[in-house]
Assembly symmetry: none
Homo-oligomer: 228 residues x 4
Amino acid sequence: MSSTRGTKEQRVAEILQTARELFSERGYEATSMAEVAARVGVVEGTVYKYFESKRELLLLVLTQWYESLFEGYEQDLEGVRDTHARMRLLIWRHLRTMRDNPDLCRLTFNEFRAEQGYHGSPLQKLNRAYTELLVEALQAGIAAGALRDDLPVTLLRDMIFGGIEHYIWPYLCGHGELEIDSITDQVCSLLWQGIGKADEQNYQRNFEQETRRLSELAERLEQKLGTS
Amino acid sequence: MSSTRGTKEQRVAEILQTARELFSERGYEATSMAEVAARVGVVEGTVYKYFESKRELLLLVLTQWYESLFEGYEQDLEGVRDTHARMRLLIWRHLRTMRDNPDLCRLTFNEFRAEQGYHGSPLQKLNRAYTELLVEALQAGIAAGALRDDLPVTLLRDMIFGGIEHYIWPYLCGHGELEIDSITDQVCSLLWQGIGKADEQNYQRNFEQETRRLSELAERLEQKLGTS
Amino acid sequence: MSSTRGTKEQRVAEILQTARELFSERGYEATSMAEVAARVGVVEGTVYKYFESKRELLLLVLTQWYESLFEGYEQDLEGVRDTHARMRLLIWRHLRTMRDNPDLCRLTFNEFRAEQGYHGSPLQKLNRAYTELLVEALQAGIAAGALRDDLPVTLLRDMIFGGIEHYIWPYLCGHGELEIDSITDQVCSLLWQGIGKADEQNYQRNFEQETRRLSELAERLEQKLGTS
Amino acid sequence: MSSTRGTKEQRVAEILQTARELFSERGYEATSMAEVAARVGVVEGTVYKYFESKRELLLLVLTQWYESLFEGYEQDLEGVRDTHARMRLLIWRHLRTMRDNPDLCRLTFNEFRAEQGYHGSPLQKLNRAYTELLVEALQAGIAAGALRDDLPVTLLRDMIFGGIEHYIWPYLCGHGELEIDSITDQVCSLLWQGIGKADEQNYQRNFEQETRRLSELAERLEQKLGTS
DNA sequence: GATGAATGAGCTTTCATTCAT
DNA sequence: AATGAATGAAAGCTCATTCAT
């Protein structure tokens, strides 16, 4: 039957793919190893030949998924040196990933932190590497003078990823659509301009008042000059 | 033995407290009703006299917890009308809650979204009401002219709460300390000023240039006036 | 609250009535003592003050029900001396009872036989007494010469009650209607006439054939005898 | 231990057999899956590998039992074309089944109707098919002119099966013996002749008397022939 | 390398019944 | 007479995991 379906690598890939599907669809806890095996077309024992435990299977699914996230990043970022553009691209790509793989993203968000011994795990390293792309962009921006040099970079990173995670959660659960361009715009706008209106107004008001005052002064002076 | 330990309300409170502890310590799935009952000192059947199911028990634990979050908010916010100060206070209180109850916060974050039928549940309503405090502060700020009137309010809300959630996750898992004042400052600073350095400089540069120009003009004029 | 609702007899009647309803609606197994108590408005312990066990409660419900079946029988049967009419009336009354109390009848049929120690119980006595009415009618019919005197009376009784039970079971489960007059007619017709058709013809034909065959045989034999 | 006791089919058969025994002995509700498993010599989980639920196990036990009822019917009925003989055979076989398997019959009668979703279940189909054998015999009898053509066939079917069920219930519960030939005679006699004593009996008496007389004659003649 | 039967501990939930107050 | 809190045993069912073949 399925005993001749291919090499060891193929079998592993097959199981991983199936596990990815089932975990994504129903969640980790709600999926049993028996279901995974049945969907692959093998018996439970076979799955355990390739994976030590259910938890390891999940870990490898998530690892594989994280690794796929990096594909194409290099090319996409190539040549985008401008700080703003680079951040925009990273945020947009992140949103696109979520729009295209809502189930996997939900799985990741749900199981990632629950992960026993998450702190320091290979999975965490991958996550770090992923978010580090944004951190690097930020640091480059600081170095280039485009960003404030006192930016709390990791906090900023978490506000971006955490904010997006919260914001699109309803979509990941099947509600509504995801307009990734619009969201990218809004996030960037928030970050770039901040939320306040005061400073600008102050600058502007000060600027205008002073200008007006000086202009009036100048006028008066010029009149005096003219009359004298 | 424990048969005469108190009134119905006390028993309910006792079970809730115990469940809160166990769920917080080991998580929902990893806690069994038998453990809860044993810790209270009763048999499982007794717990089911007061709570319909394990899920309901979790729900009530979380509900009670959410309700406690609102305590003192009114007083604290009283008199804090300034937009900036109000937001700062909300963020600071949120962080303080997490610093003081890391286990419960971790439980909440872990189980909240997994909650079946979360969409529209009473728990979600409480969460909404909680985050709505910040939304209202933002809207008041917009109305008062202290904030940009094109702010994407819900996105902003999610960036604040989601950002904090991500940022302090290690602490919730037992790593490090939480300097809530410092974090509050950083979050507020990010929001108020944005991350860019460009615009301000522009305003400032323009302002200073113009001022300088006019000042010079004035000076020159006054000199002329003085000399004449 | 309900502590002052009445005398002991009232309380007993109340509980019996409630149990009758619940057992009828959902069945014995599917009804819990807690439900009975709740519906009455008392606590479980109170029910046990009046009834030793759940089984006893069922027994008393069924007993009460059986006793009610006899009400009016005397009057109804009064003056109906004709065998056929009497049987007809008994069957019709039985069907009417089922049409009017399908739930209770279903309960009875379901729980009656399962009854532990049914054999010889007071309940069985009541059932006996009930079906005995028909037996007596049959015996009276035999005595009067209206019925065959070699009738297997108990078998006949069981064919009537058992047949009706089977036949109307779908109705007791909520399917269709019960046309008791028509059914009564059919049952009586079957019993009175038997199932055979043209009995006379058959018998006659058989009789004649057999007679003829034997006669021929006899003739031939006699011829042989005669010739030898 | 028992891990190597045989093939899947054997294991299934083993469990079915055990369940059949236990269900028959103590009833469905009173039997636990743990008991079934223990009697087979495996753990509960093993039973659930082969059967989805306790209910399914019961269903399969009953199904298998029903199917066995059909075995041999074809052969037995072969060549028995006469209406009376055919009905007699069906009734007799039914009684023999009950005499030989009282426990299973009791189980069937007890659990059959309680069966949730009985209406339309595969089990009901089997029951239908079983009782249909009698219905067909009746209809054939009608077609052949041996039975009244206005017979209420299903009612008749139910009076036969329901009557027998009631009549032999004490035996199924362990009381007394079952004289199946005698009962068959009585049932057939009731059906054929009805309960009345009118003209038919005369025909019969005449028929039987005459037949007996002729038979005796025939015998005597044959003896004579033999001696000659 | 794959099978697949078997494990065994654990889970949530139910309920008739008891008894001190 | 009534309360109502507590019991305790058992039930059906699930599942990750193992191991002889």
